[in-house]
Amino acid sequence: MTLGRGRRAVSAAFVVACAAAVVLAVVPLVLVLGFVVGRGVQALNADFFTRLPQPVGEAGGGMANAILGTLTLATLAAAMAVPIGVGTGLYLSEHSGRPFASLVRFAADTLNGVPSIVIGVFAYAVAVLPFQRFSALAGGFALGVMMIPIVARTTEELLLLVPESLREGALALGATRGRAMLGVVLPAALPGVVTAVVLALARVAGETAPLLFTSFNNRFFATSLTEPTSSLTVQVFTYAISPYEDWHRQAWAGALVLIVMVFGCSLLARLTTRRLERMHRGG
């Protein structure tokens, strides 16, 4: 019995529909990137990277403090999220079956799904109000909380990818479990862990909502971590909703810098993961 032409037609139409879906899915990427690059590149100049914002109506302002602010916040977030995230990942991969591990995994996945604005409210209550000041530390705390689940789950998955033979080899040589993990398995998974951190950084560097009431904003460079700090995302937001042409241009430029940072990290992460997967398949 041969395939009826009707059924073949339906199948072909289905494939075409799915292809169309992919095109539709990718079109916004082209549109958004096109505009950001097009309008952003025009506004990029040396001033943008080196000068501070000028008073309204005066030209030549830049986002130097915002760029430094984003880097500062990312560093603070990583300082908090890497120990907790990697530690959690280590724990989860070692004690996979235990009920406590399932609970931790559930908590990490829950944390991952919490809207960033809610994290911002939490960070305000915990890191701003008791100290009566907005600060880079509070902003870093909010972003760190968001990074933890990403680092933890990715670390866990990558540690599980490391071949059992490595761990068993170390144990066979008389190492304790701890030494086996820290001395052999973790270093093997290190590129992956770095990937996880970089990916998580890319994700939180683009966050705005939790910073609105934690790190707040600052017209100057923040001279201490207990001061409010500017950030690329908050600055782009402030400029975007303003009525000033010059600020709009700078907003596009800021968006471009943000995209370059975020995409750069994602690209790096992707390349490293590919290498790791190949290693795992080979080993």
């Binding site: 109000l129 000041r133 017209r219 001279t223 909703i241 303003s242 009525p243 000033y244």
Partner: protein
């Protein structure tokens, strides 16, 4: 030789430390209404006094009041005077220091309409959502000879707590009992119609984009955003456009007697050539600041702003304070304990 190098290094380090230690950073937040003149003042003052850096975040009067009450910022700024209840909630005595005069104008985006005139009553009805189209009889009556399109009116208002909203609703409530009843006077009200935006900046941005939009913004934003703004009928029936002269007239007549705490509204001030939607804008400073060094820095700045700084107002669409008020304000600032 080694001793010389050591001495030099020590001197350099000491100098650097002294310089760093002397930079005073003061953080403030509040009204978007005076943001253009404040940012100009802070920049100019910063050029004259490099050891002081004043960082001001324009988040709305409501935010300014809240942040300064919680002491998460050192000073606040507002165009809606704090209520007695709000003042009681603050940990210490907060002073309202008037800094400049500004105006709230009806800004609109109606291509081809030119300059329009509004009355308080018509504005109230527009913002109540009762007048739906630009060619409504009420608007045409005030603007004979102007071809108004049938475009729908889109009201744009503030989505955040705003002193500009306070001044605007206070004026409209004086002009329309129905407005007072349905909306009331406050920095954040329940608007019966329209879309909300953050800050004077956001509102101005929206008006630029939406044909048929009307909003209330501080004068500077209309000028800088190149948005048309209308004349308003004052108490004497004159069609007055917001300007340094008309704001000053309003202040001279409305604030002839200024209460000691400076909380005074000058909307709908009587007299010739007065712009009826003018307002003071205030800095909120603690009479006994916890940080004396910052307190001193702010007091010095305020003294400069009240004297030399007033010269920058006119170019930015604000009016300098009348002399008698400057004197009173300087006297009030003397009360701030900086030692």
């Amino acid at each position: 030789m080694r001793a010389g190098v050591a001495l030099l290094t020590t001197c350099a380090l000491t100098a650097a430390t002294l310089a760093a230690a002397q930079t005073v950073r003061v953080t403030g937040a509040g009204a978007t209404f005076p943001y253009p003149i404040y940012s100009k003042w802070f920049a100019e003052y910063g050029r004259l006094h490099r050891e002081v850096e004043i960082d001001y975040q324009s988040i709305g009067s409501g935010g300014g009041i809240r942040q300064v009450t919680n002491r998460t910022v050192f000073f606040g700024a507002t165009d809606s005077p704090m209520t007695d209840e709000q003042l009681r909630a603050a940990g210490g005595r907060l002073l309202h220091v008037p800094m400049a005069l500004g105006a709230v104008v009806p800004a609109y985006h109606v291509p081809g309409a030119g300059e329009l005139t509004f009355s308080g009553d018509v504005l109230a009805r527009i913002f109540l959502g009762q007048i739906a189209r630009w060619n409504d009889a009420a608007i045409s009556a005030l603007n004979p000879g102007v071809r108004l399109p049938a475009t729908a009116i889109t009201v744009v208002h503030r989505a955040d707590g705003s002193g500009t909203t306070y001044v605007w609703t206070e004026y409209l409530s004086k002009q329309s009992a129905e407005f007072r009843r349905m909306v009331g006077v406050n920095a954040a009200v329940r608007w019966p119609a329209g879309v909300g935006a953050r800050g004077n900046e956001g509102v101005a941005g929206l008006v630029q984009q939406i044909p048929g939009a009307i909003a209330y913004v501080e004068l500077n934003y209309a000028i800088h955003g190149k948005i048309a703004y209308g004349r308003v009928l004052n108490g004497g029936g004159e069609r007055v456009k917001a300007s340094v002269e008309s704001m000053t007239a309003a202040a001279l007549s409305g604030a002839a007697t200024m209460p000691p705490d400076f909380r005074l509204s000058i909307t709908d001030a009587p007299g010739k050539g007065t712009y009826p939607i003018s307002s003071f804008t205030w800095l909120l400073l603690y009479e006994e600041p916890k940080d004396k060094v910052r307190g001193r820095a702010m007091v010095e700045f305020v003294r400069w702003a009240l004297t030399a700084g007033q010269g920058y107002c006119a170019d930015l669409g604000y009016a300098p304070l009348p002399d008698h008020i400057v004197k009173l304000a300087l006297a009030a600032v003397d009360r701030i304990k900086t030692s």
